[in-house]
Amino acid sequence: MTATAASAATAGPAAAGTVRTTYRDAMRAALREALQRDERVFLMGEDVGRYGGCFAVSKGLLDEFGPERVRDTPLSEAGFVGAGIGAALGGMRPIVEIMTVNFSLLALDQILNNAATLLHMSGGQLNVPLVIRMTTGAGRQLAAQHSHSLEGMYAHIPGIKVVAPATLEDARGMLWTALEDPNPVLIFEHGGLYNMEGELAADAGPVDISRAVVRRPGERLTLVTYGGSLGKCIAAADELAREDISAEVVDLRVLRPLDTSAILASVARTHRAVVVDEGWRSGSLAAEVSARIMEGAFWDLDAPVGRVCAAEVPIPYARHLEEAAVPQVAGIVAAAREVVDAGG
């Protein structure tokens, strides 16, 4: 099962000093810690309070921290994201939750024209220490208005940071670091990961949000991925290993700014790469990764960099079509084989 594969790859063997948890609970623990450690922190979004969070991430926090700091909002994405920007300017440390990335388009004006722009446009006077969390991705048969992966669009915007926790450690640790960052940080949580279960160090805490990480070392090719596709890449690497194709799996973790050196370092070793991204292929983050490999490791390459992305369609409801629309293990394995067989 990809979920445990992913967490296993990161949590390592269950050891003393680890607890069994889920991505959802790890995220909630991070929220609780943030609310406890810094009274400037508050969580704001639709149904984060009384409802318990649309994916139950914030369940219980209302009782613990009250309606001021676990603040239910009306359906007003632009309004409450903008309010988060203003509150950040006013000295608070808001965590704004947007239920699903598709809805975040309603707030994109605030995010791009204000949050990402104010610091530079004001000549360095106004930084916006805001964290925005949202769910992304397909896999739950929620159809075309709830299933897209638009994080690549956000990764195009200067003035913000974009992270995608793919493991229990990162679900637990990225939030605090994001809150400490003086800039707007967007956290993309893949909806398919919330139930991912695994072992997490009992003392797990903040993690960096600047570096990509090799989740699985390998020699023959590099699989570059992030978020909901990490588990699939680990599974693909396992399958490739059975064919004696040793694949290295790089988890980008941070989608903006990209950790280019980590990508290039891996490709310098393997000379081959496939980028796996649940976003639509054209103009995907995968395209940027491919272009950077072109620019930074062209002479190292033994074959063209491959991409496994979402089909360029609105994600359909029917399970078989949804599965066909987004990267799957078999497709990753096939793409890896192709790249390995190609060229010299």
């Binding site: 639709e46 149904d47 309070g49 009384r50 409802y51 318990g52 649309c54 239910d72 009306p74 359906l75 007003s76 994405e77 632009a78 309004g79 598709n102 809805f103 309603l106 739950r140 048969q141 929620l142 159809a143 075309a144 208005q145 709830h146 089909a311 360029e312 369609v313 609105p314 359909p316 409801y317 029917a318 399970r319 078989h320 079509l321 066909a324 629309a325």
Partner: protein, 323 residues
């Protein structure tokens, strides 16, 4: 309005079709035949049923993700709806939309929109097309009270009023937006009053009384068709079930739910039909049997349905292209 027996039975039957259809959907969801989100209309049946009575086939309907009932009473076949829920190509959206995205162009049923407030601008555009083409058609747009906090609602209301567009705004005020009570989402909880601030005729309607709903809708539609511009109706109703399938319902009391059930649109109306002698046990049994038959057939149709070929995945991304 004096209610003749035949019409009364028709209204009751339509509400019953919605109720039983959705009750079956719940079973099928548990069985895993239906997946994704499933937003039930149970408790609110009188609203869609009454409003549709006021519309002609030439009029247009724009609805939300809680639209099984609207689609059914608008005349979309139960088979096509159930097949859609099953994700089959025989579904009204080829199985691509599921519960939240029911479409039927022939019946001018424009969905099935799961972006809260997202359907309103489309509705006024449909009405603009009618107005510019001098067609005396009406576009009915359904949305929940939660949508009234969205900017798109306000932009659409203003454009409709400003341009005098033939739109019937149907606010289904079931008091909650997921777990958020009206008083936590709107500074003005009198929604008809709020809508009136757009200089648009607006009034509240008992959304649990199908006759009251039909009457109000007919009045509004007649006015709109006569060139009276957009109208807004606030239907006061209640959702009995969870927002979608999973929902601990921490935000409201069982007692509140029970209270509303005392005013159940079907029970109350059935009782009334019995008093006027339009309904008795035999008729009721017969209605139930007919509805059950329709739903059984729909389920059988859906079960016998086929998956759209995976090769068709990229079909209809753009119009006028080979797959």
């Amino acid at each position: 309005m004096t209610l003749d027996a035949e019409h009364g039975l028709h209204l009751y039957r339509e509400m019953l079709r919605i109720r039983r259809f959705e009750e079956r959907c719940v079973e099928l969801y548990s069985a895993g035949d239906i997946r994704g989100f499933l937003h039930l209309y149970i408790g609110e049946e009188a609203v869609a049923t009454g409003v549709m009575e006021a519309l002609t086939p030439d009029d247009a309907v724009v609805a939300t993700y809680r639209e099984h009932g609207h689609a059914l009473v608008r005349g979309v076949e139960a088979e096509a709806l159930m097949a859609e829920m099953f994700g089959k190509v025989e579904g009204c959206s080829r199985g691509r939309g599921g519960s939240m995205h029911l479409f039927d162009a022939d019946r001018r049923f424009y969905g099935g929109n799961a972006i809260v407030g997202g359907g309103l601008p489309i509705a006024i555009g449909l009405a603009l097309a009618d107005k510019m083409q001098r067609r005396r058609r009406v576009t009915a747009c359904f949305f929940g009270e939660g949508a009234m906090a969205e900017g798109e609602f306000h932009e659409a209301m203003n454009l409709a009023a400003l341009w005098d567009l033939p739109v019937l705004f149907c606010c289904e005020n079931n008091l909650y937006a997921m777990g958020t009570a009206l008083a936590r989402s709107e500074s003005e909880v009198d929604l008809a009053l709020k809508a009136a601030s757009y200089e648009m005729p607006a009034w509240p309607v008992d959304g649990m009384d199908v006759v009251a709903v039909e009457e109000a809708a007919r009045r509004a539609v007649a006015a709109i068709r006569g060139g009276g511009g957009p109208h807004f109706l606030e239907f006061r109703t209640y959702r009995y079930r969870a927002h979608s399938m999973y929902d601990p319902e921490l935000y409201r009391s069982k007692a509140e739910v029970e209270e509303w059930k005392q005013r159940d649109p079907l029970d109350a109306f059935a009782a009334h039909l019995r008093t006027i002698g339009a309904l008795d046990d035999d008729v009721e049994a017969q209605l139930e049997a007919e509805v059950a038959g329709e739903i059984d057939a729909a389920v059988a149709f859906a079960e016998a349905g086929t998956d759209e070929p995976v090769d068709d995945l990229t079909r209809f991304v753009l119009a006028g292209e080979a797959p």
